[in-house]
Structure formats: structure tokens, C-alpha cells
């Protein structure tokens, strides 16, 4: 294909309207059918050949803007969602989102704003040890994931947010996090504490010291794996 032709294809001007309409119908049907997010590449694979997926999506998005159901983009994926201003009609007594603990929510936003972030960094920001189960709950909710490992001594694992996180909080991309630019501007996301401020964190309960004793029958009782002497199961 010649280069100038490429350019034209990209701008989407040479697409015949009938094919464009057909492509839009397909994309629409695919996304509409799904409750979850549909990736743009997935849609692209199923469009008639030679149709620019971005062009189609832009067209569709415009079509649904202002309607009761909107087409929204999340990262590199698409979904139909009801318009936020109509929540009052749709919400029923039964609709309730799971409530997160204050701590879990704080950890979630630290991960969202600072990602990729290690557990030590999260603890540094909060000034407390992350209690057992907090990260667990966030991962189970599908909002937080292991991202990779920091290329630093010890190669600590880093955490980040997922597409479901964006979807859940109505964010198109991470850049839409509320107040992100201001926080960046204020240097609050740099992750680096200006000077050498170091308050030692005491050894937490999760930590197993090298010289710690192996588990005992008493520990097993605490874990609920053994019933305490003679007592019946609760």
C-alpha cells in the first residue's frame, strides 16, 4: 500500500457510508451484548476489512452521547453503561455496592495514585502496617493486581489497579483520577520523601523472625484448626 493512501485510510475519509454503518452495527451489537468490557482489538477483528475501528467507535460514541445509555471507553476497551444522571430511576432497594473499610479504601487510592507501588511504600505513606487481608480484599474484588517486580534490591512485588477498577469508578483511564494533576504538581506523588525522614516501623505481627519458634499446638488452637482442649466446636 502506498504511503499517502495509508494516511487517508487513517483519517477515515474513504470509507463508504454503507460499510461504515454496517461496521457500527457490528461493534454496537458486540458491546451491547456484553456486560463486561470489550477490547477494541477484539472489535477490530470482527469488523469488515478495511474499516478503521477508531473511526467507527468515535462515530458510535457520538451517537450515544446524551442518551440514556452511553458508550464509554475504559483504557483500550469499550462498554455500554447507563447514564449516571439516571441512577435514581434504576436504583432499587436491593442495589448496594460493597462497602470498603476506611483502611482498604485508603490503600486502594494509594495504589491507584502511586502505581506501580510496593507494599513498603504503601505502608510508608500510611505510617502503619497494612493489616492482613486488606490487599487480599482489594485483589478479590478485582480492583488491584500484582503488576510486576521493582528492579531494585530484593525485587519487591509492585501493585497496580485493574481495568475493572476504572470501570467501577467510572474512569476512562488513570489520568482521570480526581485531582491527579494537582497532586502531581504539589509533589505529593513523587514517592520520594524530600529529606531523610525515617521513622522506623516496628516489627509487625505478620513478620516471622528468623529465630521464631515453629508452630505449636497452641498456635493451631488459635488458628481455629484444633478445638481448644476438650471444648466442643463452636
Amino acid at each position: 500500500m502506498a504511503e499517502h493512501e495509508d494516511d487517508e485510510a487513517e483519517s477515515g475519509t474513504i470509507v463508504d457510508p454503507r460499510r461504515l454503518h454496517e461496521a457500527a452495527r457490528i461493534a454496537e451489537a458486540l458491546i451491547f451484548a456484553s456486560a463486561g468490557l470489550v477490547s477494541q482489538s477484539y472489535i477490530a477483528e470482527r469488523l469488515p476489512r478495511g474499516v478503521d475501528v477508531l473511526h467507527v467507535m468515535r462515530e458510535l460514541k457520538g451517537l450515544y452521547a446524551g442518551r440514556g445509555v452511553n458508550l464509554i471507553q475504559i483504557d483500550d476497551s469499550w462498554a455500554f453503561r447507563t447514564a449516571p444522571d439516571l441512577s435514581f430511576v434504576i436504583r432499587t432497594d436491593e442495589t448496594e455496592v460493597r462497602k470498603l473499610s476506611r483502611a482498604a479504601l485508603e490503600v486502594l487510592s494509594i495504589i491507584a495514585y502511586h502505581q506501580p507501588v510496593t507494599r513498603a511504600e504503601i505502608e510508608d505513606i500510611r505510617g502503619v502496617q497494612t493489616s492482613k487481608g486488606t490487599l487480599d480484599v482489594l485483589m478479590e474484588a478485582g480492583w488491584v493486581r500484582f503488576r510486576g517486580r521493582r528492579r531494585s534490591p530484593g525485587r519487591p512485588v509492585t501493585f497496580g489497579t485493574t481495568r475493572d477498577f476504572l470501570d467501577h469508578f467510572g474512569l476512562e483511564e488513570l489520568r482521570d483520577l480526581p485531582g491527579l494533576d494537582e497532586l502531581k504538581g504539589a509533589g505529593l506523588l513523587s514517592g520520594r520523601i524530600p529529606s531523610n525522614f525515617q521513622v522506623p516501623l516496628p516489627l509487625g505481627e505478620d513478620e516471622i523472625a528468623d529465630d521464631e519458634d515453629p508452630i505449636t499446638a497452641l498456635d493451631l488452637e488459635e488458628l481455629g484448626l484444633l478445638t481448644p482442649g476438650g471444648k466442643a466446636d463452636e
Binding site: T82, E96, K99, E106, L108, I125, D136, M139, P194, P202
Partner: protein
């Protein structure tokens, strides 16, 4: 759509998340006096410091770190006076703040490599600002239009072909939690087995039967017999208990006789009326 649901029920279901975000009002609006009594509402020293800083009622960028330090130290003192048990990190912070205070008050020495009091104070202020910023962000985040509360997905999804080529679905979280809980389960089981350095009744009986040959009709103390087989004192109790139980069984079968002169006196054994050695089929391992 069947009437209002009880809020209590909802909370019960979220048991691990019982500590609701909404606790803000109750937890933070405390007077300083009640702070002493209810330290439980705070998530560590930084949280407490942030709360104290807010009571200065100024922009965080303009808090007086010195005043804050004094407030914190006074608070810790009060807590100790009424013998509230303070977690170690509160005390660590108190020590650090006491150091900071001395840095701020004493003019800088010429030959001093450490950070100046001002630098330390600035860092503390930064940390407080950062924590507060994250709290605000969390508040904004949670009040956004949320899926399932304000925004809804297609209620009747149709099947679209799988995006992934594999026909199976599993997340990294699924994988890791399966691995961790399986290993943990197993680790605990193994430990249980390891701990069982206990003489079973069968063991004891076997050993007693091996010893039959040494009985010569005289009364012999049970302890005496067991001791020569037990070098490890830790096992002595369990061995004697099991051996005694096994002995009772052998007495019932008529293979042994048993005698004890009084409570806590030694227990003596000797051969019973029945011949030993040949198993007459009636032997059951207990």
C-alpha cells in the same frame, strides 16, 4: 424489590469490612479528652498526628510542627498516666518527636551531619500532607458514580465469543490464593504430625510385650522398666501414661499383675497367670 432491607444484614455479610468508611464522623470528632480513652479509633501515630494537626485549624502547609510535637508528647504522657497500653509504634514516634523537638529548640551545632530540625519538620509536614491528600483522594474516589450503584451494566448480557483463546478462566489472584491456601493447609498438617512424638497405646503394648522375657515373677516398678528405654526426659510422661494404659489392658487379659501401695506410690508389675509369648488370637491392638 421487596421493601427496604435491613442495614444490619448487609453489614453482617461484609464481616471483614466491618470497619466502614462511614466511621469518619464518630472516629474523628472526638474531643482531646476522649482521645486518651479511645486510641482504638486511630490507625497508628501518623493518623493521630494528622488529627492533632487538624485541630490546629490551619492549612497543613502552615502547621506548627513544634506545637504539634508538644501536643503529641503531651497526649502520650496523659495516656501513660492513666495506664493505657500504647502500641510500640506510638512510643517510637514519641521518641522521634522528642528528638525532633530538641533539634528544633537547640541551635545547630557546627559539626553535625544529621538533618537539621527544620528539615525533619518539613519531612513530617510532607508526610502529613501526603497522607491527607490520599485520604481526600479516597473520599473523592468513593463518591464517584460507581458501577452497580449509580451506573449499571447490561442486565441481560448475551453470549459473545470468548476474548481469550483459552476456554478457561482464572485470574492470577485465583491462582495465587489457591496455591497459598493449599500450601498453608499442608504445612499445618505436617506440623501436626511432627508434634506427635507421643507413645501410642500400641507402641507401649509392643514394648511391654518385648519386655515380658525380663519379668521373673518379682514385682518390678513400671518406672524402672520404662526408664531404660527412654533417654529423652521430654517423652517420659507420655510414655508412662501409655505404658500404664497398656498395662491395664494386659492385666485384663491376665498376662500381668499390677500393684500400687498408695496414691502417688510406684506402680509394680509382675507376670500374670496366663503364659506370654504365644499369641492366642485374642490379642487386639488397641
Amino acid at each position: 424489590m421487596t421493601g427496604g432491607k435491613s442495614p444490619k444484614k448487609g453489614r453482617g455479610a461484609d464481616a471483614p469490612m466491618d470497619d466502614l468508611w462511614q466511621d469518619d464522623a464518630e472516629g474523628r470528632g472526638l474531643s482531646e479528652e476522649s482521645l486518651v480513652v479511645d486510641l482504638a479509633g486511630f490507625e497508628g501515630p501518623l493518623d493521630l498526628l494528622l488529627h492533632l494537626a487538624r485541630t490546629q485549624k490551619v492549612d497543613l502547609t502552615r502547621i506548627s510542627v513544634l506545637a504539634l510535637t508538644e501536643q503529641y508528647l503531651a497526649f502520650i504522657d496523659r495516656a501513660r498516666k492513666i495506664r493505657i497500653e500504647l502500641a510500640a509504634d506510638y512510643l517510637v514516634m514519641a521518641a522521634w518527636l522528642a528528638y525532633l523537638k530538641s533539634r528544633l529548640l537547640i541551635p545547630k551545632q557546627a559539626k553535625d551531619d544529621g538533618p537539621t530540625g527544620e528539615e525533619m519538620a518539613a519531612s513530617l509536614a510532607f508526610r502529613l500532607k501526603r497522607l491527607e491528600a490520599m485520604r481526600d483522594a479516597a473520599g473523592k474516589l468513593v463518591n464517584r458514580n460507581r458501577l452497580g450503584r449509580d451506573i449499571f451494566v447490561r442486565g441481560m448480557p448475551e453470549h459473545i465469543p470468548t476474548e481469550r483463546r483459552s476456554a478457561f478462566e482464572a485470574s492470577l489472584y485465583d491462582l495465587l490464593s489457591a496455591y497459598a491456601s493449599m500450601r498453608q493447609r499442608h504445612a499445618v498438617t505436617q506440623v501436626t504430625i511432627e508434634r506427635r512424638s507421643v507413645w501410642s497405646l500400641a507402641d507401649a503394648r509392643e514394648i511391654l510385650q518385648l519386655l515380658f522375657g525380663e519379668f521373673d515373677g518379682d514385682w518390678t516398678a513400671l518406672d524402672h522398666f520404662m526408664l531404660r528405654y527412654l533417654t529423652d526426659p521430654a517423652e517420659r510422661t507420655t510414655a508412662i501414661a501409655s505404658a500404664f494404659a497398656a498395662t491395664l489392658e494386659l492385666v485384663r487379659e491376665g498376662r500381668l499383675e499390677l500393684r500400687q501401695d498408695g496414691a502417688f506410690q510406684p506402680i509394680y508389675l509382675r507376670k500374670g497367670p496366663k503364659p506370654q509369648g504365644e499369641d492366642d488370637g485374642g490379642t487386639e491392638r488397641g
